[in-house]
C-alpha cells in the first residue's frame, strides 16, 4: 500500500470529490421533495391553472433526475 504524500493527497482529493457528489445528491433530493410538496398543495387547493403548474413541476422534477442523477450530459461522449 503506497503512503507517499502525493498518494495521500490524491486519496484526499478523491474523498472530497466523493463527498461533494453525495452532498449534491442530497440537495437534488431536497429540491425534489419541495417540488412534490408544492405539487400536492397545488392539487389539493385547486388554484386556477393547477393542471399546467403540475405539468411544469413534473417536467422540472424529471429534468433534475435526468441531469443530476442520470448524468444525461455524458451522452455527448457516446460513440
Amino acid at each position: 500500500m503506497p503512503s507517499t504524500p502525493e498518494w495521500t493527497a490524491q486519496r484526499k482529493n478523491r474523498m472530497e470529490s466523493d463527498h461533494t457528489s453525495i452532498r449534491r445528491g442530497l440537495w437534488v433530493f431536497a429540491c425534489l421533495a419541495v417540488a412534490t410538496a408544492v405539487e400536492f398543495v397545488v392539487a389539493v387547493t385547486q388554484i386556477p391553472g393547477a393542471v399546467l403548474m403540475i405539468l411544469v413541476i413534473a417536467l422540472t422534477k424529471a429534468w433534475l433526475i435526468a441531469v443530476y442523477f442520470m448524468h444525461i450530459r455524458r451522452l455527448r461522449g457516446a460513440g
Binding site: M15, S21, L26, E39, I57, I65, F69, M70
Partner: protein, 184 residues
C-alpha cells in the same frame, strides 16, 4: 498502448450508454401510450376515493431510493465498497417498501374502483406496469450489488446501467403520480 486500450474502453462504454438511453426511450413509448389512454378514457377525472396519503408516501419512498442509488454509484466509482453495499441495500429496501405501498393502494382500489370500471382499468394497468418495472429494477440492483461486493468486482458500467434504469423507473412515477392522483 495503454492509452489506446483506455480510449477503446471509453468508446465502448459510450456505446453502451447510448444503447441504454435508446432502450429507455423505447420503454417511454409504452408509458406515454398509457398516459394517453388515461386522459383519453377519463379526462382529468380522479375518483374521490383515490388514497392521497399512500400515494404521497410511496412517491417520497421512490424519490429517496433514487438518492441512495445515486450514492451507491458515486461510492462504487470512488472505490468505497462498504458505502456502495449499504446504499444499494437501502435502495433495494426502499424499492420493496414502495411495492408494499402499492399493495396497500391496490387493496383499497379494488374496493373503490374495481378493474372493470374505466378508471380502474387505467389505474391498474398503469400502476401494474410500473410495479413490474420496479420488480425488474430490484432484480437488476440485487445482481449488481452481488457483483460489486464479490472478490472480483466489475468496472463501473454495470452499476451505472442498473442505477440509471432505477432512475428511469423513478422518472416514470414522477409523471404517473400526478396523472393518477393530482390532476383533477
Amino acid at each position: 498502448m495503454a492509452i489506446a486500450t483506455e480510449s477503446v474502453a471509453q468508446g465502448e462504454t459510450g456505446n453502451y450508454r447510448l444503447g441504454l438511453w435508446l432502450f429507455m426511450a423505447s420503454e417511454s413509448m409504452i408509458f406515454l401510450a398509457l398516459l394517453a389512454a388515461r386522459f383519453y378514457l377519463q379526462g382529468t377525472h380522479v375518483p374521490a376515493e383515490a388514497d392521497q396519503t399512500i400515494a404521497l408516501i410511496i412517491t417520497s419512498i421512490l424519490l429517496l431510493s433514487s438518492v441512495s442509488a445515486y450514492t451507491a454509484e458515486v461510492a462504487y466509482t470512488a472505490g468505497d465498497r462498504r458505502l456502495f453495499a449499504r446504499a444499494m441495500f437501502a435502495t433495494i429496501g426502499l424499492g420493496l417498501a414502495f411495492l408494499v405501498g402499492v399493495g396497500f393502494e391496490w387493496r383499497e382500489a379494488f374496493r373503490a374502483f374495481p378493474p372493470h370500471t374505466a378508471y380502474g382499468t387505467v389505474f391498474f394497468t398503469m400502476t401494474g406496469m410500473h410495479a413490474f418495472h420496479v420488480v425488474t429494477g430490484l432484480v437488476v440492483l440485487g445482481i449488481v450489488r452481488r457483483m460489486g461486493t464479490s472478490q472480483r468486482p466489475p468496472g463501473p458500467w454495470p452499476i451505472e446501467a442498473a442505477v440509471k434504469y432505477w432512475h428511469f423507473v423513478d422518472i416514470v412515477w414522477v409523471f404517473f403520480y400526478p396523472a393518477l392522483y393530482l390532476i383533477n
